[in-house]
């Protein structure tokens, strides 16, 4: 299992990027005692057979590394859901894209800590080279939205160190505002 929820989300968004998605939407919501996220992409998707295999930790399509026999991204998602009596769902259509949904009780003793979202979101935003990554973040009745193309228009090359620092500060300020009471 990943050490934090943010690590788990980063891993799944990376799957979308590696599936050549041009549009990814991450919605991450903390409401009352629930934590919930969904990731929707228009990447290459998976056939029913590949979907069944993808949740097996000892399966990898072998395209990237011929000798690799493990693929732990989706198994970690399912493991986390099972350990926390939560729910994980994967819907995918070959050639169309994939949608992942996760939800669990925020206070469950086996739920990994949330993690540093500002840093995770900075990494996700700068990992995708083209296309749109939209992040909708909601907590305690407040919300904010991030858009990769908007950040790129504002700052230029998102991989430059200076810009990465600015994005992290920017997202950090949105997170602070979300956590502030009232």
């Amino acid at each position: 299992m990943h050490a934090t929820i943010c690590d788990l989300i980063m891993d799944l968004v990376q799957n979308s990027i590696e599936a050549n998605a041009e549009a990814i939407e991450l919605i991450l919501r903390e409401t009352g005692n629930q934590i919930e996220f969904s990731i929707k992409d228009n990447g290459k998707g998976m056939s029913k057979e590949v979907q069944a295999k993808a949740i097996d930790p000892f399966y990898s399509d072998g395209e990237k590394h011929a000798h690799r026999r493990v693929g732990l991204g989706l198994p970690f998602l399912i493991q986390t859901a099972e350990a926390t009596e939560g729910r994980a769902a994967i819907e995918s259509k070959e050639g169309c894209g994939t949608r992942i949904h996760f939800c669990a009780e925020a206070a469950h003793v086996d739920l990994p800590p949330f993690g540093d979202f500002a840093s995770a979101a900075t990494l996700m935003m700068s990992q995708m080279n083209s296309g749109e990554l939209r992040i909708v973040r909601e907590a305690s009745g407040k919300s904010y939205t991030l858009s990769r193309t908007e950040l790129e228009e504002t700052l230029g090359n998102l991989n430059e160190t200076q810009n990465l620092m600015l994005i992290k500060t920017y997202i950090g300020s949105q997170e602070d505002n979300l956590r502030k009471a009232g």
Binding site: K64, L72, G115, D116, L123, T161, Q162, Y170, G172
Partner: protein
């Protein structure tokens, strides 16, 4: 901190650009690529990224871009970081924790000397050829 808007962000960028231009810049560019596959993330690559950002800012080093890649196939030596610095050999570092990331900034990017005890030796392509 007050909630920033995109306009604030644009202003901050312009301010940073100005201070950067005032410094005596060494114009050689460098690229740092962090492995962010499941294995990299699980081994703490996010903390390594934070350490790189922090140390680069402290050192005032410019012209560095930080990119990410998926699994490099070296899961056992994660976090792995590839550093390409002008006029220096391209190097893959293995088992890079936050402390090592800071050393890479100070010794490799700033001091132009390799962090030898973390270099991951890639096998020569002629040895692994035909083994796919």
């Amino acid at each position: 901190m007050a909630k920033l808007t995109l306009d604030d962000l644009r202003k901050l960028r312009d301010e940073k650009k100005q201070t950067m231009n005032q410094r005596d810049a060494d114009n050689k560019s460098a690229e740092v690529i962090i492995g962010m596959g499941t294995c990299g993330i699980a081994a703490g690559a996010k903390g390594v990224f934070d350490a790189f950002l922090d140390e680069l800012e402290k050192a005032g080093i410019q012209n560095v871009t930080i990119k990410q890649t998926g699994c490099m196939g070296l899961c056992f030596s994660e976090p792995t970081v590839e550093v390409a610095c002008e006029d220096m050999p391209r190097v893959v570092y293995g088992n890079v924790d936050e402390k090592t990331a800071r050393r890479i900034v100070r010794e490799h990017l700033e001091g132009k000397s390799l962090v030898s005890d973390h270099i991951f030796d890639k096998p020569s392509t002629d040895i692994i050829k035909g083994d796919k």
